[in-house]
């Protein structure tokens, strides 16, 4: 909030007309924000309507709200199973993926080793490749490994990629060299330096990466659709996809299912929100840690 105080101090210098223009701008951007939220507002509203009023043009068309839509969805779909699949896949993929990525990025920034340049070049090469190009061969690989319809197929292939490694290499190389020298002088092992100094220092960036991974993983539907056959292995998005062809015009149920799919990620976003935009390493993060 430092910035706000400075703004107030400086305000006397700007022209008085600026204030009204500023107010108009405030209102305009608030309206824009509301417009961004609009589809979600309708989603929530329709999910609480009785089945015969989904097409009403009024936002709140009827009282009392039909909370029973959610129970109907719960009873018609194996939601618990979908949740379990989604959560399990996301948790393992993000947890192991982040650890693996941290280790690789640390190796690139901390050690001088033979083959470093070649490895970096190979990674750089894969950076530009569209995910959809990988879809076909990866499907064949997974099928060849006998992973179809297994959790491994959902969790392993997208654990890490060149982008994630590069991002953390950039972040880790911003850690001052003095820390490394100090750690070495104190006789700390590389692993201790990584987990006790580098990781706490770069926590916001690591969290940002983990959040982006979680979102991508939770919302992924194409890959899970391709590598799963049985209903028991469906994740939430695949469940919604299947439901949207089964439910036909039961918009209120579809919207309820959509809300169920969206809400967990919104929660996750709010939990890590305050770290997101300050994703630059700073000594403060280290202080908070100890």
């Amino acid at each position: 909030m430092r910035g706000t105080n400075e703004n107030m101090w400086i305000k006397g210098f700007s022209k008085p007309t600026g204030r009204w223009a500023g107010l108009l701008l405030d209102i305009f951007v608030c309206a824009l924000g509301a417009a961004m939220l609009f589809p979600f507002l309708w989603m929530a509203a329709i999910s609480l309507r009785p089945g015969d009023q989904t097409m009403s043009p009024q936002l709140l068309s009827s009282f009392p709200l039909e909370w029973s839509n959610y129970r109907t969805v719960w009873e018609t779909l194996p939601l618990l199973r979908y949740f379990e699949n989604s959560l399990l896949v996301m948790a393992t993929s993000v947890l192991f993926g982040t650890i693996v990525t941290i280790c690789a990025a640390f190796a690139f920034t901390h050690f001088s080793f033979y083959g470093r340049k070649i490895l970096l070049a190979a990674l750089l090469g894969t950076l530009m490749i569209p995910e959809q190009l990988l879809l076909i061969p990866n499907y064949m690989t997974v099928a060849g490994l006998g992973w179809t319809d297994r959790y491994a197929a959902l969790a392993v292939p997208w654990m890490t990629n060149a982008f994630a490694v590069f991002y953390l290499v950039q972040v880790f190389s911003a850690v001052p060299r003095e820390y490394r020298f100090a750690a070495r002088a104190d006789g700390a092992k590389p692993s201790a330096f990584l987990w006790k100094v580098v990781v706490p220092l770069c926590k916001p960036s690591i969290l940002t990466l983990a959040l982006l991974k979680s979102i991508a993983n939770w919302n992924a539907y194409l890959w899970p659709l391709i590598v799963t056959n049985s209903k028991e292995m469906r994740t939430l998005p695949v469940g919604l996809l299947a439901f949207s062809t089964e439910a036909g015009t039961s918009y209120e149920l579809l919207m309820a299912m959509s809300v169920i799919l969206v809400v967990p990620m919104v929660f996750l976003y709010f939990i890590v929100q305050k770290h997101l935009v300050q994703a630059v390493p700073s000594a403060e993060n280290l202080k908070n840690e100890s």
Binding site: I10, G33, P39, A104, I129, P130, V165, L222, Y269
Partner: protein
């Protein structure tokens, strides 16, 4: 151990590198080679893993296929419409959020929600807004005295609807990138100009924008790549069975998906994916050249 290559360093580094490199090699690097090989398979039996003939026929088929041409045209249309619209809007929003910190704490989530939410769920809500008879878009049109529009049902409106949805969907990510860029600009310059009496627009034009140049180039490249990969939006918005009415919203990646998933034409799908990849790669190179020339 840090400054000179050594076997000691190599031995220490490999345990850290191995897991990530294995995953990248198996699921990131190997498929690129395999996809290229697949694109050359002309006659093959996938189930018995036999290839009878290799050649360039898949590529010539793809470039002569009117469907692929339509997909290419649509994809280019998406790039020239969605990228500028989304960038201008997101830069304006990010600049505003940056200057009004107090308000931005409450507004930021609104712009990030489309980024966080499943595209399937978001598209369901949009399909409802775009509904020809009951949708809010047409209700607003009626209020303004305009005729109803078949947003998702008439062929000529398929692309405009897709553009609208894509811009909305891509805003959050660009706003996030611009916000990070804006916060990296030292505030002294802007403050000095303010004390000198410069008003908002010149300050933005002469200080903020030049200092944001690197981020602008980065966002433009990422946006072009994203627009080129448009698939989710089409799939979700038009219900996953067709790429819009009469296939009018067909994109390159959707074409690849259909050839692969519905028609099991692995060779043609890989050829199309490679053709698309080479095109976007060329486009990115042009962009990089431009940024070099202007000293970005």
């Amino acid at each position: 151990m840090n400054d000179k290559k050594s076997w000691r360093g190599t031995h220490q580094a490999w345990p850290y590198l191995m897991p990530a490199m294995m995953i990248v090699a198996v699921f990131g690097l190997y498929p690129v080679i395999q996809a290229f090989d697949l694109s050359l398979h002309v006659r093959y039996d996938y189930y018995r893993n036999l290839v009878f003939e290799r050649g360039w026929d898949n590529f010539s088929f793809v470039f002569q296929d009117p469907e692929f041409r339509l997909a290419l045209r649509n994809t280019l249309l998406l790039i020239v419409s969605v990228v500028p619209a989304s960038m201008v809007a997101s830069l304006a929003i990010a600049y505003f959020l940056h200057t009004r910190r107090l308000l931005s704490r409450w507004l930021q989530p609104a712009f990030f929600l489309p980024l966080v939410a499943s595209v399937l769920a978001a598209a369901l809500a949009w399909r409802w807004l775009f509904h020809t008879e009951y949708g809010l878009a047409n209700a607003t049109f009626a209020g303004l005295g305009l005729p109803a529009v078949g947003w998702l049902t008439s062929p000529e409106w398929a692309m405009p609807s897709l553009v609208l949805f894509s811009v909305w969907h891509s805003l959050g990510y660009n706003v996030l990138l611009f916000l990070v860029g804006l916060q990296a600009i030292p505030p002294q310059y802007d403050r000095a100009a303010r004390i000198d009496g410069a008003s908002r627009w010149p300050r933005f034009r002469r200080i903020t924008l030049p200092m944001l140049r690197r981020v602008l180039y980065y966002v433009s490249i990422v946006s072009v790549v994203h627009a080129f990969m448009t698939f989710d939006e089409v799939f979700a918005l038009f219900g996953g069975e067709r790429a819009g009415p009469m296939d009018r919203a067909l994109t390159v990646v959707y074409y690849v998906f259909r050839k692969f998933y519905s028609e099991s034409e692995y060779g043609i799908a890989s050829a199309a994916a490679y053709a698309g990849f080479l095109l976007v790669f060329a486009l990115t190179l042009v962009q990089l050249k431009m940024s070099d020339r202007r000293g970005g």
